[in-house]
Symmetry: C2
Subunit: 222 residues, 2 copies
């Protein structure tokens, strides 16, 4: 994201193009009956660990797949494939977010009708992904207890464009003296009433409740 | 940062403009005899905590000031002002990085000649700040042990544009089973020979060594 009047003008056109493509994707996902859930967060907030546990659980009962975005490396895809789910890496090069065109390209030869859930892990970035609709049904914003309680007020846009907040690495909360109530208050200051889950991918705490919510969401949108 | 041919073209012009302005700033900093050090990292990697300790120490022996970038809030400036140093917040709105023009505007009525050190804390973002030269003498990239060892390979550009890496939150290394040697190997895979400091702003470990390096850097560039 940049500044200057010329750039803003071009950027608005790019975003409009992305919105149109995302709308077409959303319609395609709906027709195929696949529930598409995206994950955004800072680098290192635990998106991949959360997804690893979630795929491992969901693969037993659903047909589930994932797209994972990073500037470089296939690390996350390799790690997530161990779950048995179909996983494809999207390497963005120098681009700091996924966009709808990247999602469309990655899904070119996929039969979406066979899927119940598709997860999309965005590039680790708490700013730019906010502007790009990917056609997802649900957007989760993750923040780890190690990042501090103040991130929602400092990065309000991404919390505003997400549907659900997931506080991660709860097992470290005591070690970093994390104030859970303060964090929730900050999330709700930016986005009143936002649904918040508190989880640890390491200990497993909170995951089952979050998974039930995702499963219910799929049924309600079908 | 975005894609599409029109956008890339406009972006290159913006970056070129920024480079020219950054060059002028660097010359201005050099003439004034102020050592300018910028900090980049993910949100929540501990830039502000590191800066808080550093300002608190440096203010006793130097004339020191800081600019802090965030999308929104004055929180960091308020927190850092307790050190006694002059601190100014730059609120970027929706812009995901600082640029040279923002630095120039923020310093408009400052007498740089009175300063020994000026710290610039960038917006928390491990991607976009890489492209924007701010005229700094030294760029520190921080990564916390809680983010995992793999960030350098996943975000190579920011490690390539930084001069020094600082591994933060060392007090949590055991709790997150952080592999320090693996992290260093990854940093050096991206940037061979890069100077690495390992610190904890909480326990204080490693800070003195890092500070000695910054002080020596100022003298060698004077």
């Amino acid at each position: 994201m940049m500044n200057g009047p010329r750039l803003i003008e071009v950027r608005q056109r790019v975003l409009k193009q992305n919105d149109l493509l995302a709308r077409a994707l959303r319609e395609r996902f709906r027709r195929a009956g696949v529930c598409v859930i995206s994950l955004v967060s800072s680098p290192g907030s635990g998106k991949t660990a959360f997804l690893e546990r979630t795929l491992g659980e969901f693969v037993r009962r659903y047909s589930v797949a994932a797209l994972v975005g990073d500037l470089a490396t296939e690390n996350d895809a390799q790690r997530l494939r161990r779950s048995g789910a179909r996983v494809q890496q999207i390497a963005t090069g120098t681009v700091c977010h996924l966009d709808a065109a990247m999602i469309e390209r990655a899904l070119e030869d996929w039969s979406l009708e066979e899927l119940d859930f598709l997860f999309i892990e965005n590039v680790g970035n708490l700013v730019c992904p906010a502007s790009y609709d990917l056609g997802e049904e649900l957007r989760l914003v993750l923040m780890s207890v190690t990042e501090g309680e103040d991130k929602p007020l400092k990065y309000p846009t991404i919390f505003n464009t997400a549907d659900v907040a997931v506080i991660t690495k709860l097992d470290l909360a005591a070690a970093v003296e994390f104030d859970l109530e303060a964090a929730k208050a900050q999330i709700h200051a930016v986005r009143p009433g936002m649904r918040i889950f508190e989880v640890s991918a390491k200990s497993g705490v909170g995951l089952a409740e979050c998974w039930r919510y995702l499963e219910a969401r799929r049924l309600s949108s079908a």
